[in-house]
Amino acid sequence: MAQKILVVDDSVTIRQQVGSALSQAGFEIIEAADGQEGLNKITANPDLLMVITDVNMPHMNGLEMLEKLKANPKHSKLIVFMLTTEGQPELIERAKKAGAKGWIVKPFKAELLVSAAKKLASMA
């Protein structure tokens, strides 16, 4: 059974790019367009392995989503990876402190993203 990854980004094109790269690598992909929808999908998919999320999004940003889900013991083991155009050290530190496992600055190279996802999956 394929391991399931949630991709959260307000750009449908980025969701397609990320989803395409990871599904070709054997992962099952589900999508959400913002942090609030992301939290709903996480609740509805208890078998999720990983979340790859943007930071700046409407309704709820990726850092708020990360902090909310890590505050819930049910999701504390979920692997979260940030994929964003932001590179501000304070934001990276906030994500790290909240429990994120990685940070990629857009634009990303598909093979590096897949490699990082596989590495994190193998450590789960």
Binding site: D10, S11, V12, T13, I14, Q16, Q17, S20, N56, M57, P58, T84, T85, E86, G87, Q88, P89, I92, K96, A100, K101, G102, W103, I104, V105, K106, P107, F108, K109, L112, L113, A116, K119, L120
Partner: protein, 170 residues
């Protein structure tokens, strides 16, 4: 803002725009001084207590579809917004190297006909870059204001921010 800071800011916006387009293999045939038929504007605001403003990427629907093709995307409107997002991210990282940082908004797209930047803007607070691509004209706009005595620190300062494409694993 003094002349040196202003020139640095303009240089960083221009370089950030060109690097972004080159990264996605957008062919640029020199600069195009005339406004093309702009129908789509993807814009994001940014701000801090020292600097605030907005950037925009502007083009036609046809050119937006041209831009999204190399990445096998299907939605040119959405991709224009994402490109604007990535442009502001690049510009932000460059400004941070000179001690200027700000928070970013999210992309907003609006549609119109024959949209152009006002001709009577203060060019010390506005930048318009125009490119000719095989898909049509593409423009990048920056409009900004700064608090009194805000200057770029000359000579890049130490900055631990990762570069585009860099992966950090914790």
């Amino acid at each position: 803002m003094n002349e040196t800071s202003l020139q640095l800011l303009k240089q960083h916006f221009q370089e950030a725009t060109q690097e972004l387009l080159e990264n996605y293999n957008v062919e640029m045939d020199g600069s195009s001084p005339n406004s093309g038929s702009i129908e789509l504007v993807a814009t994001l605001g940014f701000g801090s207590d020292r600097v605030a403003g907005a950037i925009a990427l502007c083009t036609s629907a046809r050119c937006a579809d041209y831009l999204v093709k190399p990445i096998a995307g299907r939605n040119g409107h959405d991709w224009l917004g994402e490109l604007a997002n990535q442009l502001l991210g690049r510009f932000k990282r460059r400004c941070a190297r000179h001690g200027i940082t700000f928070a970013m908004g999210v992309p907003v797209l609006f549609r119109g006909e024959r949209i152009s930047m006002a001709r009577n803007l203060d060019m010390n607070r506005s930048i318009r870059l125009a490119f000719q691509t095989p898909g049509g004209n593409l423009e990048a706009w920056l409009d900004f204001k700064t608090s009194a005595n805000v200057e770029f620190l000359c000579g890049p300062i130490q900055n631990d921010a990762p570069s585009e494409g860099e992966i950090l694993l914790f």
